[in-house]
């Protein structure tokens, strides 16, 4: 009589459970992280968040409101002339729901002034102008408020290099940078970000009608799962063997491998054995008491 057979479960391109988060614990953890990095380490009690109307910045704002209280969070809308009305309205939903402080800073004149000095400005260059202008505004408002900018970039866009270098990646503290986009969606739902924001198609809103997933050529959900395995060391060939589409895997790996430079500091010519960050290594948070200070 044949024995009953028990088979192992192979990894499946339709099994997204590897990306599951314990949402209560993750929320508690990110709130603790924000308090530690903003207040304990850097001595700030006010934070400034660029609020685009999208899910990433909404989630950052919700987490900051929990960490510091709504009165200590300044949400900044920075629309350009072509920004959609919907983005502004969705940002307002967040502001109203949380009761955080808010500012609206129109960047159109600044961006157009800069673009007017340049020649043949492509949509890509103009998008970079906008991202970097928003960075300038954010840091300036932080200085005015004696606060610190908090970032909104997620792990997927960081791994894809889908951001403007020294633009939207500039804030010194980022609670979302190790969360894939699909994890951002789950956490956003959990903390109460309005569903109209969570459920809409993600867009950088730099060009009318543009969506992230159309730009990237793959859905965030699928990209996140592929990235999850690639980052653990599984080869593209194995992922294809498991049933992932070869084109999807190629798209993800190509974007990942072409953008390592965006996730690192500038390449610096090394001429000594005390080069900063190579030989002389001190962590970001290290700030020892001065000799004799105690």
């Amino acid at each position: 009589m044949p024995l009953p057979v028990v088979r192992n479960q192979a990894s499946s391109p339709e099994d997204y459970s590897a990306l599951d988060l314990n949402l209560a614990l993750t929320t508690k953890w990110l709130v603790a992280f924000l308090r530690e990095e903003v207040t304990s380490r850097r001595g700030f009690s006010t934070v400034v968040v660029g609020l685009s109307g999208g899910v990433d910045s909404a989630l950052s704002t919700y987490l900051c409101a929990r960490a510091f209280g709504p009165a200590n969070v300044v949400a900044v809308r920075m629309p350009y002339a072509t920004s959609s009305r919907e983005s502004l309205d969705h940002a307002q939903l967040v502001i109203d729901d949380l009761g955080v402080r808010s500012e609206t800073f129109e960047i159109t004149r600044a961006v157009d002034g800069l673009a007017g000095l340049a020649v043949d400005v492509s949509p890509l260059r103009k998008g970079n102008f906008m991202a970097r202008m928003r960075m300038v505004v954010l840091f300036d408002l932080a200085a005015k408020e004696n606060g610190i900018p908090v970032g909104t970039g997620n792990k997927t866009e960081r791994l894809f290099g889908y951001f403007t270098w020294h633009g939207d990646d500039a804030p010194p503290v980022n609670p979302l940078g190790d969360l894939f986009k699909s994890q951002v969606w789950a956490l956003a739902r959990y903390v109460g970000v309005p569903s109209v924001i969570v459920d809409k198609a993600p867009t950088a809103d730099l060009v009318r009608g543009q969506t992230d997933e159309a730009d990237l050529g793959i859905s965030y959900r699928k990209a996140d799962l592929i990235l999850h395995y690639v980052l653990q060391g599984y080869t593209p060939e194995r992922l294809v063997d498991w049933g992932f589409g070869a084109g999807e895997v190629h798209t993800v790996v190509r974007r990942l491998n072409r953008t390592h430079w965006k996730r690192n500091l500038p390449a610096t010519a090394i001429v000594s054995s005390t080069a900063i960050g190579e030989y002389y290594l001190r962590p970001t948070d290290y700030s020892p008491p001065l000799p004799g200070a105690r």
């Binding site: 590897a18 599951d20 988060l21 314990n22 209560a24 614990l25 993750t26 508690k28 953890w29 603790a32 992280f33 530690e36 990095e37 380490r41 002389y280 290594l281 001190r282 962590p283 970001t284 948070d285 290290y286 700030s287 020892p288 008491p289 105690r294």
Partner: protein, 308 residues
């Protein structure tokens, strides 16, 4: 005078001030005072608790000799604990020793007649250098595993990755340890569950050690953040049957207090005499381990040879 039947162990799951040795020595005095209030015989602090962990090249700034640490802890203890009650302490720190920096732990008795007395220093043997860890770049490796004598019987110390290799606890059990104290600075990761993956994994490891070798086990973990990396806590105390009898919270600070009854050791060893079995085959195991080590070396050397 024999060893006491009951031993009360305090475990300080706390967040050291990053890079500030003096502040952490001062905090030690507070924790020692609280431990005495809780009638603890021994207080255990986590790995690198006098400085914080991810210091990179700054380990040189915070490293101290064992003698300096003993003197500083004794002074802090005297200021905060004038009651005259002795307290044994186990404290993780970056140690300066003969020109090298080690990730170490000091076991000492404070407040006793005759002054502070160091009983043992364990230097971390397994230095993780992968992923988020980079220890071998900054500290030297310890070379020995020892049980040492205390007022409460023979004890031993393991630091973080030391625990993740089961052979270390096996050696300490053979050396007669009745308590194995593990200390760690383990960054939390794997947030699919509460507690996170690494906290759950620690409990699995500790239960195997406690039950296999019928020893009391404590694991004192830290909390707080350094450079975005957070430490999950989840410290634990286990009896020789592998039961977790005290467990600290995730994320938050806590002082765990556990009264161990030394008679539980005998109960566990009679019920499941695995340590006796281990002792019986220890000599054969040592030979096997030696053979295996030679095999590893000869395989590696053979792999380096290129045939014409």
């Amino acid at each position: 005078m024999g060893t006491p039947l009951l031993v009360r162990v305090g475990q300080a799951q706390f967040a050291p001030v990053f890079g500030d040795y003096a502040a952490n020595v001062a905090r030690f005095g507070e924790l020692a005072s609280q431990a005495l209030d809780e009638r603890c015989d021994l207080l255990v602090l986590p790995e690198t608790s006098l400085s914080g962990y991810f210091l990179e090249g700054a380990v040189l700034d915070v490293a101290r000799t064992g003698e300096e640490v003993l003197a500083d802890l004794a002074e802090s203890f005297a200021q905060r604990c004038p009651s005259g009650s002795p307290l044994d302490v186990l404290v993780g720190f970056y140690e300066l020793f003969e020109g090298n920096v080690f990730n170490a732990a000091l076991y000492a008795t404070l407040g006793a007649i005759g002054g502070p007395r160091a009983r043992h220093i364990h230097r971390k043997m397994f230095l993780p250098t992968y992923g988020v860890f980079d220890e071998q770049r900054f500290v030297a490796r310890g070379r020995s595993l020892r049980a040492f004598t205390t007022r409460f019987g023979p004890m031993a110390i393991l630091i973080c990755e030391d625990v993740w290799h089961s052979v270390t606890a096996t050696i300490l059990a053979l050396r007669g340890a009745r308590f194995i104290h593990a200390i760690s600075s383990s960054p939390a990761r794997g947030f699919g569950t509460d507690p996170p993956w690494n906290v759950r994994k620690w409990i699995d490891l500790l239960q195997v050690i406690a039950e296999e070798h019928a020893v009391f086990v404590t694991h004192t973990a830290r909390v707080g953040f350094e450079n975005g990396k957070g430490f999950g806590g989840g410290s634990a105390a286990l009896t020789p049957d592998g039961a977790v009898v005290t467990q600290g919270p995730t994320i938050e600070e806590a002082l765990l207090c556990t009264t161990f009854d030394m008679r539980d050791l005998q109960v566990a060893r009679v019920r499941q005499p695995l340590v006796t079995d281990l002792e019986a085959v220890a000599a054969d195991l040592a030979l096997e381990l030696g053979d295996a080590a030679r095999h590893v070396r000869s395989s590696a050397v053979a792999g380096e040879e290129v045939e014409d």
